[in-house]
């Protein structure tokens, strides 16, 4: 880890220090509570019957034998939902709580059994008889986009409750959402450009493996619902549950213990509606705990096909880019429209195009639904755009770092019409990742280096609230709706409050979310927590500080300007009063507590949040690879990344974000791929067949450069991190492999695919010499 600038000396007490994670010891000792550790009284165990067919009409379901089984308390099917509007979905309200009359992907829940033990529930599934009438299947983008393709959904588009995508277009065949923008006259730019690079590209479906699978416990008590869930966005889940089951928001309580990773797989509403529905029928709390194969068809990353072309001048000036892409959102839209828009936003890359034209389509197919996954959109397209920049450089004979230096947008440059301009030093960032892999050094044959840079629209919708409480013994409690899913948010939030109050961060406790007590926070995703929720925590802490100073003014009889704050005390003229005393003097006897509130909203006093996106996350990475041309094996020798974070609240956490993102980036680039057959069945639905990165795959060296230009809208100039490298690294690896001689247009770079491409290039090379 390298930090490009040292934090200001003398001021920091907590921010900028790599303090120990507040949850580390409990997690290592197995004491930290996850949803699976909770056992509300009378809890039942749910088991889900899933469709074996990807597209079929449900002609009948006979649950009588299951219902008659000893220990089974309730069996849920689509028939139990007649009294509610049973459709939900973040972007489009297209998904029934449980299949109603039809299934649209293999793995779709058709029935749920709740029983006194898990094995009774599992065994009872086998006695449910479902009669299916199979339908024609569209299991791939090509099948779904064919003129006579079977329709996955019929009927009008119903918008989700809070998608933030503006007016949604009508569905067109299986295309459920379209996004695009243009600037300049693309046609004439491409006609007159001396260099045009173009191609068709494929990106695979990927599983956002996290150690904890989706786990939910729900208790529908009639007038109240309590949900304990491994969810990233508790307040959005609350909203959908409230709407589905017709109870006011304040009667739906969502409680979030620790999460064992999420990476986007636990964004928005997943297993919660099904769990609430079976609990409603059973009248008792019910737990549904997904297995890995079930989580794989609960959500995944969109596979994509893309056609892109780039126009450039003979001097390497980047002139125009045209992009059309199709993302496979599976059977239900989930967050697909947003992913599609973000991919569109990322497609031009951070260059000063004279003309650009981006068209992105979100497509239904009969496969498991696709949603968010770390750095979505950018990971999809950055490797394509950046490989075309490299290709331009090769054709005009220019160094690949130099072409970026010349063409990258300056600070303030327009990324796309209507969006916030560039808010970072892009040239500085790309130079940092290049330097870290010894750009320009001599290399033996079959080695290659690559760099890449892109932007990710980050921050989502900037609405977050926080409460900070200072008790009479000087202890501080932070209530904030950010979900701790392993990224270290509770630690960082505590550091922010500690910094404002000038106390040791060990005196601050940050709680998990319970929507009944925790103030609203929109979501934990889009690298927003430290920036947006962290800003709310800063403001809440400032408000507590204000109350402390006010009290000190009164007691000491001096003006605020004469007060200084340090070490948990307020000082004036050599006299220091500890916070404990201030609280006790203010309230008398054993004291009350000082409570401060903070909030961030698009408009309002936190000015930086008015324009979207909240910030552009920088996706810069470098890689050096070695190719074994005889087997096609690509080995990543070393990687570099830049965490352009404005200000590192906790440098170690920043670095571990980049390390985790690096490993996931390796998986996405080199081997992760969900394979569906033409009938829509997922072929590799176990971790034996779907390989995730492990320590064996770690490159020999990973370097992370932390850039701190204090240019973020978050607390202390911070902005988010953790996603960028996942978009940047696959692109750097693709470029490094092309540098070693093999230009790939399909991910992942499996040895067989690389080997095939080597052979193809040899044959093409031989025939072009004829």
């Amino acid at each position: 880890m390298t930090r490009l600038s040292d934090p200001p000396v003398g001021t920091a007490t907590a921010v900028g220090l790599s303090v120990e994670r507040v949850d580390a010891r409990d997690k290592l000792a197995g004491k930290a509570e996850f949803t699976v550790d909770l056992h509300p009284p009378f809890m039942l165990y749910g088991s889900v019957l899933r469709s074996p067919y990807a597209h079929a009409v449900i002609e009948g379901i006979d649950t009588s034998a299951a219902e008659a089984t000893d220990g089974v308390v309730a069996v849920l099917t689509g028939d139990d939902l007649a009294d509610i509007d049973p459709y939900y979905g973040h972007a489009l309200r297209d998904r029934p709580v449980v299949a109603i009359g039809k299934v649209r992907f293999a793995g779709e829940p058709v029935a749920v059994v709740a029983a006194v033990t898990q094995s009774v529930a599992d065994a009872a599934l086998a006695s449910i008889e479902v009669t299916y009438g199979t339908l024609e299947v569209a299991a791939s983008l090509d099948a779904a986009l064919a003129p006579d393709a079977p329709l996955v959904h019929e009927g009008a588009v119903r918008p989700g409750l809070a998608h933030g995508l503006g007016a949604l277009p009508e569905r067109e065949g299986n295309i459920c959402y379209r996004y695009g923008f243009a600037r300049g006259d693309t046609e004439s730019v491409f006609e007159s450009a001396p260099v045009v690079v173009e191609g068709d590209y494929l990106f695979p479906a990927v599983y956002q493996y996290s150690m904890e699978t989706h786990t939910t416990i729900a208790h529908h008590k009639g007038d109240d619902i309590v949900v304990w869930s491994s969810c990233q966005h508790p307040f959005l889940v609350r909203q959908e549950i409230s709407e589905l089951f017709g109870l006011p928001l304040d009667r739906v309580e969502v409680i979030v213990p620790f999460l064992g990773g999420g990476f986007g797989s636990k964004s928005y509403t997943k297993m919660e509606p099904l769990t609430v529905a079976i609990s409603r029928k059973a009248g008792r709390p019910v737990r549904i705990l997904n297995r890995v194969d079930e989580s794989m068809v609960t959500t995944r990353r969109h596979n994509m096909k893309c056609r892109m072309r780039t126009a450039a001048g003979a001097d390497g000036e980047l002139l125009g880019r045209e992009v059309e892409l199709w993302l496979d959102t599976g059977a239900y839209a989930d967050n697909g429209p947003r992913v599609t828009a973000t991919a569109g936003d990322a497609a031009p890359g951070p260059y000063g195009w004279k003309a650009m034209d981006v068209r992105a389509h979100c497509v239904y197919t009969n496969t498991g639904p696709s949603g968010s996954y770390r750095a979505f959109g950018s990971t999809h397209v950055q490797w394509i755009g950046e490989s075309q920049v490299d290709e331009v450089a090769r054709r005009v004979g220019m160094d690949r770092l130099e072409i970026r230096r010349r063409n990258l947008l300056p600070r303030g440059g327009e990324v796309r019409p209507g969006a916030k301009g560039v808010d970072a030093d892009l040239v500085g960032d790309i130079e940092a990742v290049a330097a870290a892999i010894d750009w320009g050094a001599e290399r033996p044959p079959n080695r290659g280096v690559g760099i890449s840079i892109g932007l990710l629209a980050a921050g989502a919708h900037p609405v977050s609230m926080a409460t900070v409480r200072l008790g009479p013994d000087g202890g501080v409690t932070v209530l904030v709706g950010t979900t701790e899913l392993g990224q270290g948010s509770r630690t960082a939030m505590g550091q922010i409050a500690a910094e404002v109050l000038k106390i040791d961060s060990s005196r601050v406790r940050t709680m998990g979310t319970d929507t009944a007590y925790t103030p609203y926070d929109r979501s934990t995703g889009a690298s927003r927590s430290t920036t947006v929720a962290g800003k709310a925590v800063e403001e809440a802490a400032l408000s507590v500080l204000d109350a402390l100073l006010e009290t000190a003014e009164e007691i000491l009889g001096v003006d605020r300007a004469e007060l200084t704050v340090a070490g948990g005390a307020v000082e004036a003229g050599g006299q220091a009063i500890a916070y404990q005393e201030l609280v006790q003097r203010r309230f008398g006897l054993a004291g009350g507590e000082l409570v401060g509130h903070g909030r961030v909203q698009p408009r309002g006093k936190s000015g930086g949040f008015a324009d979207g996106p909240v910030f552009w996350e920088i996706c810069a990475a470098g890689a050096e690879v070695e190719l074994d041309p005889e087997t096609g094996i690509v080995t990543v020798l070393r990687t570099s990344s830049v965490a352009d974070v404005g200000r590192a609240i906790n440098p170690q956490l920043v670095e571990s974000q980049d390390e985790g993102g690096t490993l996931q980036g390796l998986g996405n680039a080199l081997f992760e791929e969900m394979r569906f057959d033409a009938s829509g069945t997922l072929l590799n639905d176990t971790l034996l067949d779907y390989r995730i990165p492990s320590f064996e795959d770690l490159p020999a060296a990973m370097s992370c450069t932390i850039v701190e230009n204090a240019d973020g809208p978050g607390p202390f100039g911070a902005k988010g991190c953790g996603e960028g490298v996942l978009a940047g690294l696959p692109a750097a690896i693709v470029n490094a492999l092309a540098d070693a001689g093999v230009a790939m247009r399909e991910l992942p770079l499996t040895p067989e695919r690389v080997w095939n491409q080597i052979r193809k290039q040899r044959i093409d090379g031989a025939s072009s010499k004829d």
Partner: protein, 296 residues
């Protein structure tokens, strides 16, 4: 995909285990480490009411050398074999082959016997032992018979084991002076995609014995007769002989296409890995000629 209930039996002798399996018939299965069996049962690929756990059968857990023969009990785990000081000093190639199998967790409970008896086409030990000309000892208590490991597996997940019969052990010859053994593999998933084991002997500067097994690409490991083309060759011929032998090996082996790759790709890998493996084995043999066969 959750493990259904079953009854566990824990015999302490081969005879008792064998009798239980015979009595309980088709509804019973033997289990050593359970790393394959329990997985298959979880995935719903197999289902049994009775599991005969062999872990307490002491006779299956022996590991000994007599003369130049190493005998490994069917119940010895990969990890025990890999880390055995005896194996490390007398047969380092066996130890390093095992070090690449699966992961530490699987190696710590998974056994050599379980690997061979499961007869998954993708297997390191099966390829290795076939190249060594190892012998599988099968028994049911009263009687026992010996079959070459090469013919032990007769198809994917199929072996020559008769009902109630157990793999009690494997016997293989230790490498003597001038012997070079190499095991090269490539994997894209958990299990190997291609495995090639070479065993060559060099005496007086020329190859006096050569054996090559190719595994994981076909339904069972194949010992090709192509390596005999190396016999009598001296170092200066190796480059060309090995190239020809590897090409001929790729010709001789007929891979099966699966999720690990298409036939053409696998054939190419067989050629590459055979070439690399043979060179490595020849170098080891040449280096150890007269040095007790202990390759580094």
């Amino acid at each position: 995909m959750k493990l259904p209930p079953f009854e566990v039996h824990r015999p302490t002798s081969v005879e008792d285990a064998s009798r239980l399996l015979t009595e309980l018939g088709d509804d019973a299965v033997a289990m050593s480490g359970g790393t394959e069996l329990l997985l298959a049962m979880k995935l719903g690929l197999a289902s049994y009411g009775h599991v005969v756990d062999l872990k307490r059968v002491g006779a299956l857990r022996s590991l000994e050398v007599s003369g130049d023969v190493l005998s490994v009990g069917g119940g010895v785990t990969h990890r025990e074999l890999e880390t055995s000081p005896l194996v490390r000093s007398l047969f380092p190639a066996l130890s390093s082959m095992l070090a690449d199998v699966a992961n530490l967790r699987v190696r710590s409970v998974g056994t050599l016997g379980g690997n061979l008896c499961f007869a998954d086409p993708h297997s390191d030990p099966a390829t290795f032992l076939a190249a060594m000309g190892a012998v599988a000892v099968l028994g049911s208590g009263a009687s026992s018979r010996r079959v070459p490991v090469e013919g032990f597996s007769v198809g994917p997940y199929e072996t020559v084991l008769a009902p109630g019969e157990l793999l009690t052990g494997v016997e293989l010859r230790l490498p003597g002076p001038g012997t070079g053994v190499s095991h090269v593999r490539m994997k894209t998933h958990e299990r190997p995609t291609v495995t090639v084991t070479s065993r060559v002997e060099v005496a007086g500067g020329v190859v006096t014995s050569a054996r090559l097994a190719v595994g994981s690409v076909c339904s069972v490991p194949v010992v090709t007769d192509t390596a005999s083309s190396l016999l009598g060759s001296a170092r200066e011929d190796w480059e060309e002989r090995v190239a020809r032998c590897s090409a001929a090996t790729a010709e001789a082996v007929e891979p099966v296409a699966d999720a690990d790759g298409a036939v053409g790709y696998k054939s190419a890998l067989v050629e590459v890995l055979a070439r690399r493996g043979l060179h490595r084995a020849l170098e080891l043999a040449a280096g150890s000629a007269g040095a007790g066969g202990v390759a580094p």
